[in-house]
């Protein structure tokens, strides 16, 4: 079996890689392209820590062949920030203490980011439902949900919340 050359569109940059047909997208991202933000945990689509976006939709990269990703627009957690400037969602995660060990965070961010694009002001129930496929081993769910809700709707969600206002100024 020989390696095949493919071009993947990752974070708006074309990346040329040599892969085997049985490489998953996660393996290519981490091992070939050094984009180690996406994590492998269960490897069978249960935990959600390998979540990336394909054409704006969250998918498990551990259950997606790299060959299947050719021709789609891939966004990983590395593509969320604009240079050194974090996205609102990332800043909100930091401000609300939604990161403990941090292993689930890339997956949480990618799922939440896709949710906020579809529904910029989600309520708690929608957020819970959207993040149901991402498991946090530290069980810091409450803060993660607050962080997502705050990004979408800072005024209504926590009117007295000073968090994040600094970053905005």
């Amino acid at each position: 079996m020989e390696k095949i050359q493919i071009v993947l569109d990752i974070n708006d940059k074309p990346c040329e890689v040599m892969i085997y047909p049985n490489d998953t997208l996660l393996e290519v991202l981490r091992d070939e392209l050094d984009l180690t933000g996406s994590k492998e945990s269960c490897g069978e689509g249960v935990c959600g820590s390998c979540t990336i976006q394909m054409d704006g939709k969250p998918v498990r990269s551990c259950l997606t062949l790299a060959m299947e990703a050719v021709g789609t627009k891939i966004k990983t957690v590395e593509g969320l920030a604009n240079g050194n400037e974090l996205s609102d969602l990332q800043q909100s995660f930091i401000d609300h203490g939604a990161v403990q060990c941090g292993f689930c965070t890339p997956g949480m961010l990618m799922t939440a980011d896709a949710l906020l694009k579809d529904n910029p002001r989600p309520d708690d129930k929608t957020i819970r439902k959207a993040l149901a496929g991402n498991i946090c081993r530290c069980t810091g769910y409450a803060k993660i949900i607050t962080a997502v809700a705050h990004t979408g709707n800072p005024q209504d969600h926590c009117p007295d919340c000073k968090i994040g206002s600094k970053a905005k100024e």
């Binding site: 049985n22 069978e44 689509g45 959600g48 062949l65 959207a130 496929g133 498991i135």
Partner: protein
């Protein structure tokens, strides 16, 4: 976990896919969403030489209404089915079933309806890693002569945990299987073989092309029980369909219980007991639910985690809830 090696083929047309399938037969596996196939390959349960991807076959992704039938292409993603007004209105059970498969934002964009109904039967003693399985002798499904789920069983007792299959069977769906030399239409109820090792009658040269649901003007509902709703497979599920007569009585009923046996179980006696009853007759519903429990309990084995007694008891609950919900949507009209 790494995948075993294989050749990746991506045909551009259905015809090309069927030719490849006819050429490779048992050596080939079809890849649609990959949420079932790739997990089994990672666990070393499957080792196909060739994987045929349906990625380029957009012709198999559609939902349309035609002459009293809803037709769904096999590669239609679960997300598309949930988003469809037609399915929500005319085939509520399927909508509810697809909504409950896996995590709403993740599996839905990859997982397909065809893959959901063709998924392999599962068993907690079989669907494990190579390392886990190396600790004991091979079971029936792995080529041995032992069943860990039921002592002294002479065959595999793995469980069909497909949400889509249970709902579609309640809706009286048919499927079209395409081969290189032609197509055949099969009732979904006849498609499942009740054999744990080969759970469905899809030949190795065939490809699931289309799912056909008759529009009967009936009310359907689906209920499922799982430990973690966004992650686990169901431990019990039930799909029901109630067809009203002009006098607003139940003219025809279908009760299907899933995740209990080797295939979804259509319970003819319990279903027939509802004929001629009124939609408000909760006693009849309760009795049909208890009958369903008694009829399906002998098929259950201890192989999906929950205790057997609990699962069997919950059959009655799931069927009753589904009946109640279908009757409720009937009352709303």
């Amino acid at each position: 976990m790494r995948l075993p090696r294989f050749d990746y083929l991506k045909p551009d047309t259905l015809k090309a896919a069927l030719e490849l399938l006819a050429l490779h037969k048992d050596d080939a596996k079809i890849l649609a969403g990959g949420t079932d196939l790739l997990v089994r390959m990672k666990n070393g349960l499957l080792n196909p030489k060739v994987v045929i991807s349906l990625k380029a076959l957009n012709e198999l992704s559609y939902i349309k209404k035609q002459a009293g039938y809803i037709k769904i292409g096999a590669r239609t993603s679960l997300a598309d089915i949930i988003a469809s007004d037609l399915i929500q209105k005319e085939a509520k059970a399927l909508f509810q079933a697809c909504e409950k498969v896996g995590a709403i934002t993740i599996q839905h964009y990859r997982g397909t309806i065809g893959g959901n109904i063709l998924q392999d039967n599962r068993c907690q003693y079989y669907n494990q890693s190579d390392f886990h399985r190396s600790g004991h002798q091979a079971c029936h499904k792995a080529g041995g002569k032992i069943c860990y789920a039921r002592e002294e069983a002479d065959r595999c007792n793995s469980t069909c945990q497909s949400d889509g299959a249970t709902a579609l069977m309640a809706l009286g769906a048919q499927i079209i299987l395409a081969g290189k030399d032609g197509e055949r239409t099969v009732d979904l109820a006849d498609f499942y073989t009740t054999d744990g090792i080969m759970p469905h009658a899809c030949e190795s040269h065939e490809l699931l092309k289309e799912i056909i649901i008759p529009v009967l003007g009936a009310h359907s509902a689906y209920q499922r029980l799982a430990y973690r709703s966004a992650i686990d497979y169901p431990i019990v599920c039930a799909g029901v369909l109630l067809k009203p007569s002009p006098e607003n009585e139940i003219e025809d009923a279908r009760i299907v219980v899933g995740a209990i046996g080797r295939s979804p179980l259509f319970l003819a006696k319990a279903s027939a007991s509802l004929k001629g009853k009124r939609f408000t007759d909760m006693t009849a519903f309760k009795k049909a639910a208890d009958d369903s429990m008694n009829a399906s309990a002998p098929f259950a084995v201890h192989n999906v985690g929950a205790t057997l007694e609990y699962r069997c008891a919950m059959v009655s609950r799931m069927v009753f809830q589904a009946l109640e919900q279908a009757a409720f949507s009937a009352a709303k009209e």
